[in-house]
C-alpha cells in the first residue's frame, strides 16, 4: 500500500452542507485525511493507490454525472 495525497478543485459547493456532502462522498469513495475548503473550492484527501488510482478520485459517485458537484484532480503527491 502506498498512500497518495490528492489535491482537487471542487465545483458546485455553496454552503457547509455541501462541504459535508463532499466530505462524506470522499470518505465513501475510500479516501482518508479529508479536508474540504468551501472558500477555495478545493479538497485534499489521501488514497491507497493499491485500491484506487488517485486520478480516479474525481470519478467517485459524489462527483458523478447526476451529482451537482464536479471535481478535477490537480495534484497527486
Amino acid at each position: 500500500m502506498v498512500s497518495k495525497k490528492v489535491t482537487m478543485r471542487v465545483f458546485g459547493m455553496t454552503c457547509d452542507d455541501c462541504v459535508r456532502t463532499v466530505s462524506d462522498g470522499l470518505k465513501d469513495g475510500g479516501a482518508t485525511e479529508i479536508f474540504v475548503s468551501l472558500k477555495d473550492g478545493t479538497a485534499s484527501a489521501v488514497v491507497d493507490d493499491s485500491r484506487m488510482k488517485p486520478e480516479d478520485l474525481s470519478k467517485i459517485p459524489v462527483f458523478g454525472e447526476k451529482s451537482h458537484y464536479k471535481a478535477q484532480v490537480r495534484k497527486v503527491e
Binding site: R9, G12, T14, S58, K59, E65, K70, Q72, R74
Partner: protein, 476 residues
C-alpha cells in the same frame, strides 16, 4: 472590473466554439470555474459577424428580388424591383449587430465567472499565455486551456492582388454600392452563396476556378447540377483557368488567366477572393505549450484533446474536414464536458450535417458514394431527380437531386445528399438515420408529410426497391 491572473480555464478565441465552451463549463461547475476568454474584434467570431448571419440575410433579400423578377406561376407578371443597395447593406449590418448583441454580448452578461480580454494570446509555457494588446502585455495563468481561435480567409499568392485590392467574405459586408461586375476567385461555397445573391441583386458575376467542378468533395452529379442551375440564372463559370496576375487599368481591375487555350484578360469592378479558409494558428506559439499542429490546424483526438492533455481545441482551428459554426459550438461543448464533467464525449464527423445556402440549397450528411467505397466497404446508391417529388413540382422548383448512400450488406444508410429547396431544413432526418443505424427500409415504414420536399428522402429510399414512376402519391 478587477480581473484575475489565475484561471481554471483560459479560452483563446471569442467565437462560437469559445462561447459554447465557456457557457458549458459554467453550467457544469455551477458558475464556479473562473474563465478567461481572449480575443479581438467583435464578439461572436466569424459566423455572426461575417459568416452565416450576414450571408443568409443577403441571400433572403436577393431571393425576394429574384421571386419578383422571376415569378414561378403563370398569371403573375414579372416586375423588376428598384434596389437600394445602400439600404439593403445597411440593414444587413444592423441585423448582424442585433444578433451579436442578443446572442453574444447580452448572454455574456449573465455569466459573472467569465472575464473578457482584448488582444492576441500566445503561449509562454504550458500553463501561461501572454495577451498582447496595442503594446500592452498581460500574463494569464490557466489550468486548462481551450484553443478556439477560428480560421481566416485563405488569400492565394497572385501577382498584383494585394496592390489591386480585393474583397473577402470578411469585407464584402461593408459595401454600400454593389459592384457592376464581380469576379470570384476560387468559387468556394461561401463564394457561391454571395455570388448568387449579388447576381440576383444586379451584379454580373463570374467565378474563376482552376478546378473543372464547382464544388470538389461533394457528390459529382450534385455539384454539376448546382453549377448548371447557377449558370441558368446568369452566373458565369470560367473553370480550368489559373489566375496569373491582377492589375488595375482605367479604374477597373484586370484579371489575367492562363488555361490550356492560352492567356485571357477579364475586366471587372471588384474581386472577391473565396478560395477556402486557413486555421488561425500563427502567432500562438503552440510549440511552447506542447501542442502539435500543421498548416491544416491543431491535431486533436475525438475528445478534442490536443497533444497536451490539459489543452483542448475546438472549431475551425482544428485540423478537420469541416469548418462549421454548429460543429465548432458542438466541439466547444464537448471539450468543456470532458474537462469538467469527467466524460469522454467524442465528435463524430460522419454525423455532422452541413449546407450551402444557394438556391436551391445543398445539404449533406455522412459519406459520399466514393468516400464510403474508399473505406473498403461497398455501397449501393440511388439518385432521384427533384422533379419526381410532387411538392417540388407544385413549387415550380424542380431542379435538384436526392442521393442516398447505403451499405450494400446491411442496407444501413451512411450518407444523404440533397440539392433542393429547403434542404438545410430537413437534412436532420439523415443525421438521425445514420446515428441510429436505420436502413432505407426503416425510412419507408415511416409516413412523411405529403406534399413536402422532404418527402424526397422517403422516395429516394423507396427507389431502392421500386420504380417511382409506377407509384401513386404517398404509397408506402
Amino acid at each position: 472590473m478587477i480581473l484575475k491572473s489565475e484561471y481554471d480555464l483560459v479560452i483563446l478565441g471569442r467565437g462560437a466554439a469559445a462561447f459554447s465552451a465557456a457557457i458549458k463549463a459554467s453550467e457544469i461547475t455551477a458558475g464556479q470555474a473562473s474563465i478567461a476568454m481572449i480575443g479581438f474584434g467583435p464578439l461572436g467570431g466569424t459566423c455572426v459577424n461575417v459568416g452565416c448571419v450576414p450571408s443568409k440575410y443577403l441571400i433572403e433579400a436577393a431571393k425576394v428580388v429574384h421571386n419578383q423578377s422571376h415569378p414561378r406561376y403563370p398569371g403573375i407578371d414579372s416586375i423588376k424591383p428598384a434596389i437600394n443597395s445602400g439600404k439593403i447593406m445597411g440593414s444587413l449590418r444592423d441585423a448582424v449587430k442585433e444578433e451579436r448583441v442578443n446572442k453574444y454580448e447580452n448572454v455574456l452578461k449573465s455569466y459573472g465567472n467569465i472575464d473578457i480580454y482584448e488582444g492576441r494570446a500566445r503561449f509562454l509555457d504550458k500553463s501561461t499565455v501572454i495577451v498582447d494588446n496595442n503594446g500592452d502585455s498581460e500574463k494569464l495563468n490557466g489550468y486548462n486551456f481551450i484553443i478556439a481561435t477560428g480560421s481566416s480567409t485563405k488569400i492565394p499568392h497572385i501577382e498584383g492582388l494585394e496592390d489591386t485590392g480585393y474583397l473577402t467574405s470578411n469585407t464584402v459586408w461593408d459595401l454600400n454600392n454593389l459592384p457592376g461586375k464581380l469576379a470570384i476567385l476560387g468559387g468556394g461555397f461561401i463564394g457561391l452563396e454571395i455570388g448568387q445573391s449579388l447576381e440576383r441583386l444586379g451584379t454580373e458575376v463570374t467565378v474563376i476556378k482552376e478546378h473543372d467542378t464547382v464544388a470538389p468533395g461533394i457528390e459529382e452529379e450534385i455539384g454539376a447540377k448546382l453549377m448548371e442551375i447557377l449558370k441558368s440564372e446568369g452566373m458565369e463559370f470560367r473553370t480550368g483557368k489559373k489566375v496569373m496576375r491582377v492589375f488595375s487599368r482605367n479604374g477597373k481591375k484586370i484579371i489575367e488567366t492562363q488555361s490550356r487555350r492560352g492567356k485571357e484578360e477579364m475586366e471587372v469592378d471588384e474581386i472577391l477572393v473565396s478560395s477556402g479558409r486557413i486555421p488561425n494558428v500563427a502567432g500562438l506559439d503552440l510549440e511552447k505549450a506542447g501542442v502539435e499542429y500543421s498548416s491544416k490546424g491543431i491535431f486533436t483526438d475525438e475528445t478534442m484533446k490536443t497533444t497536451n492533455p490539459l489543452i483542448y481545441a475546438a472549431g475551425d482551428v482544428v485540423d478537420q474536414r469541416y469548418k462549421l459554426e454548429t460543429l465548432a459550438a458542438g466541439e466547444g461543448s464537448i471539450a468543456a464536458s470532458n474537462i469538467y464533467a469527467g466524460t469522454e464525449k467524442k465528435v463524430n464527423l460522419q454525423l455532422v450535417p452541413w449546407a450551402v445556402f444557394t438556391e436551391p440549397q445543398f445539404a449533406s450528411v455522412g459519406y459520399t458514394e466514393s468516400g464510403y467505397n474508399q473505406t473498403g466497404r461497398k455501397s449501393i446508391t440511388r439518385t432521384v431527380p427533384l422533379d419526381l417529388v410532387p411538392k417540388a413540382r407544385i413549387l415550380r422548383e424542380e431542379h435538384g437531386i436526392f442521393k442516398m448512400v447505403v451499405d450494400s450488406e446491411t442496407e444501413k444508410i451512411v450518407g444523404i445528399h440533397v440539392l433542393s429547396p429547403n434542404a438545410a431544413e430537413f437534412i436532420i432526418e439523415g443525421v438521425y438515420a445514420i446515428r441510429y443505424g436505420l436502413t432505407f427500409r426503416d425510412l419507408i415504414e415511416n409516413s412523411h408529410i405529403f406534399p413536402t420536399v422532404a418527402e424526397g428522402i422517403k422516395l429516394t429510399a423507396q427507389s431502392f426497391t421500386r420504380d417511382l414512376s409506377r407509384m401513386s402519391c404517398c404509397m408506402e
